[in-house]
């Protein structure tokens, strides 16, 4: 565990960001969104620290200006967030189908 993002970014293959729940800032464990973004936000400025092929994940929904800037959130090569969302829908569909009695061959039993 570290609280120094810049020191570990160069080693990471997958940078998995999480959403700060802005609606729960009362009694938050950090002072301001501004400072959070400065210390832990994945920004264009920080991209140069990343491996060339490192990718960016996030479970969504994202907060632009908090854990990301838009450049990194929408990064055409690195960001796989939309693929994650698409895969998430497929997985949830499959789970619901199986739980509701769907058969492996795709036919209702």
């Amino acid at each position: 565990m570290t609280s120094d993002l810049d020191s570990v970014l160069p080693e990471l293959d997958v940078v998995y960001m999480l959403r700060v729940q802005q609606e729960r800032l009362e009694g938050a464990p950090f002072p301001t969104i501004r400072e959070y973004h400065k210390l832990f936000g994945l920004t264009k400025k920080r991209e140069k620290l990343m491996k060339p092929d490192a990718i960016i994940c996030h479970p969504g929904p994202i907060n632009r200006g908090v854990e990301f800037d838009s450049y990194m959130a929408d990064h055409p090569q690195r960001s796989v967030i939309l693929e994650q969302v698409y895969a998430g829908i497929c997985v949830r569909m499959a789970i619901l189908y199986l739980l509701l009695g769907g058969a492996d061959n795709g036919l209702a039993s």
Partner: protein, 428 residues
């Protein structure tokens, strides 16, 4: 431009120096330390004087921005230089409060412009010192803050203090606690006891301080943050710190000359408001315990809590006068007079308390009397006798509780980064 300091008695336990040697300053560094050095150029004979690593006072109110009527960075650092200090840690109870990077930057830039010593800004733990929301500690560190404190107040909520420490510990800076349970202390004016009863002043009980010392040590243990107890004033408070250290908690503490060398018994029917300080002057037994703690190592640092106020603020009724006394110009002299010259404490221990430990706790680079070190140096005459206040003060304020006292020992020369800030007792 080289300057050779000849024949001073150098005391620096960090390099095991305790004897007469010459010190050559070149630029901002010490170029050479040794016997019978000789160079072409300027030379100063310091025979009969002591030379030590520059003293640092880690608890000073410079009052700027906001209260320049009491003191400002120029006058406060003049007082520091006069007292033999090469650096001070400035408290954040300014106006605006030093609770963001912008004010930290302001303090630094003013100090660079008009300062007579180094100024290390501390930042408020909570916004506006209100104890309600964390301040941007990361931003302040990025701008040069060396410590966090709500000095002047304790953080009243234990949960708030815990959040501050949990979050702020990643920056590696020390949390400095002013310990005062505001609900218990109320409008306490002086130590609660016989003297407060006799003078009909509301009591400020020792427990009001000790409760938060105990609490803060527990929270430091819980969070793993570095804790420093400010201006400790009671014997029991010191026992709590001693126990915390023994249990492995990262806790240090500081004591002021006024809590060591003045007591509640100095208060009388004259209601001298210069003796109104926070925490208050305590009992003889407390002062004795603090002095013992300083000598035995339980107290890590001597500080002044230099707290300048205007004469008209201090000239009010005791209950209405603000807390605090000035101390930068008397601290070294008092320690020499009361502890070192009396043989109770060694000169080397004084250097630890006033130069080495403050830098260690604040995470500053150490200054050592050896080649290559930054030339922040204090020179003093341990036998010079003077009377406090007889020639006024460099500080803008005059609220010294030691006015009229005759002391033995005084700074004569101070160098900050090789540049002289005090020469023969005069500000440069």
């Amino acid at each position: 431009m080289a300057l050779l300091l000849k024949n001073a008695h150098v005391v620096d336990p960090s390099v095991e120096l305790d004897g007469v040697v010459d010190v050559l300053i070149d630029g901002d560094k010490i170029a050479e330390v040794g016997e019978n050095l000789a160079v072409e150029g300027a030379e100063r004979d310091l025979s009969g004087k002591y030379l030590v690593p520059g003293l640092v006072d880690m608890h000073v109110h410079l009052r700027e921005p906001g209260y320049e009527v009491k003191e400002d960075i120029e006058s406060g650092t003049r007082a520091a230089a006069k007292g033999g200090f090469t650096g001070v840690c400035a408290m954040p109870n300014t106006d605006p409060v030093t609770d963001n990077g912008t004010v930290v930057e302001f303090v630094k830039s003013r100090a660079a412009e008009v300062g007579h010593c180094r100024v290390y800004p501390s930042g408020a733990m909570t916004r506006g010192l209100k104890g309600e929301a964390m301040s941007e500690m990361g931003d302040m560190v990025a701008h040069g803050a060396v410590a966090f404190t709500d000095d002047g107040r304790g953080v009243q909520g234990a949960g708030m203090l815990r959040r501050c420490m949990d979050y702020g510990k990643m920056f590696g800076k020390v949390f400095m606690s002013h310990c005062q349970d505001e609900d218990l202390v109320g409008h306490g004016q002086i130590n609660e006891g016989k003297v407060s009863t006799r003078l009909a002043l509301e009591g400020w009980p020792a427990a009001g301080e000790e409760l938060q010392i105990a609490r803060d040590i527990e929270i430091a243990k819980l969070t793993g943050a570095k804790l420093h107890i400010q201006h400790i004033s009671t014997a029991h408070g010191l026992e709590l710190v001693r126990a915390g250290k023994a249990a492995g908690v990262q806790v240090t503490c500081e004591a002021t000359p006024h809590h060591m060398f003045l007591t509640e018994n100095d208060l009388d029917e004259t209601y001298n408001t210069s003796l109104k300080v926070n925490p208050p002057l305590r009992t003889d037994e407390d002062a004795e315990a603090i002095r013992q703690g300083v000598i035995d190592g339980t107290v890590d640092v001597i500080v002044t809590d230099h707290a300048p106020h205007t004469p008209w603020e201090k000239a009010r009724e005791f209950e209405l006068a603000p807390f605090g006394m000035i101390g930068l110009e008397t601290s070294l002299s008092l320690v020499l007079t009361e502890l070192v010259n009396t043989g109770k404490m060694s000169m080397a221990r004084m250097v630890e308390l006033m130069a080495i430990k403050p830098r260690e706790i604040l995470g500053l680079d150490q200054v050592q009397v050896k080649a290559g070190s930054v030339a922040d140096l204090t020179v003093f005459d341990a036998s010079a006798t003077w009377t406090v206040g007889e020639d006024g003060y460099e500080s803008r304020a005059e609220n010294s509780g030691f006015a009229g006292r005759t002391l033995t020992g005084r700074a004569t020369d101070v160098f900050v980064g090789g540049k002289q800030t005090l020469a023969d007792g005069c500000i440069c």
